[in-house]
């Protein structure tokens, strides 16, 4: 990964953390002082390397794992902000990435009731529940949105 791609990747995460949303290529170009074309190329390189996921046929960021740039059933509250995560693994990934306490909200896949689990001091005080992984690891990237 070249230095521009590294800088772009860091900026994408900073932007997600500060705003709960991904930056557009124009936002990143302005912030880093590069042309939009250079940033779009970096976005594609990061997507090719599976560091981020773009919406199909676009340079709009869909995911910078664990963050989602679209609404999902996994909401994470941490450091006074709400974030969408891509899945249950990624919902816990937000406090892991931030090294911060968090409240994770979703609904039970069995009964539909609202579930809240806390991460506090790097620990999970309430451990009732199971997370179902439907897709074997080798196939995760066949359709990462479905995964």
């Amino acid at each position: 990964m070249d230095q521009l791609a590294k800088d772009v990747r860091s900026y994408i995460y900073d932007h997600f953390i500060q705003t709960s949303m991904a930056p557009s290529a124009a936002d990143t170009a302005k912030a880093l002082g590069h042309s939009e074309a250079d940033i779009e190329a970096a976005y594609h390189a990061l997507a090719e390397a599976r560091s981020i996921v773009l919406r199909p046929h676009s340079t709009t960021i869909w995911m910078a794992m664990p963050f989602s740039n679209v609404q999902t059933p996994f909401t994470v509250i941490s450091r006074g902000r709400a974030y969408y995560a891509n899945c249950a693994w990624d919902a816990f990934g937000v406090p892991a990435l931030l090294h911060a306490d968090a409240r994770v909200f979703t609904t039970c896949g069995d009964c539909g009731s609202v579930l809240e689990r806390k991460i506090s001091g790097g620990r999970l005080p309430e451990t009732r529940g199971l997370v179902h992984f439907a897709i074997p690891a080798r196939q995760w990237w066949d359709d990462v949105g479905f995964t």
Binding site: G93, T127, L130, V131, A134, A137
Partner: protein, 53 residues
């Protein structure tokens, strides 16, 4: 849909830490399939379902 795998929340939290706690490192790079498979094994996630190689 295949049956898949079920993880406890403790296992999912361990997996999340393993996968994401270094993600903000500017020098972060994605694990190779062999590295990822080995990392899963460190927290007890073994077997055909978790193999990437």
């Amino acid at each position: 849909m295949p049956r898949g795998a079920a993880l406890t929340l403790d296992q999912t939290w361990e997996l999340a830490k393993l996968w994401y706690e270094d993600r903000l490192d500017p020098e972060w790079r994605r694990r190779t399939p062999a590295e990822a498979t080995a990392a899963f094994a460190l927290i007890g996630l073994t077997g055909e379902f978790w193999k990437l190689t």
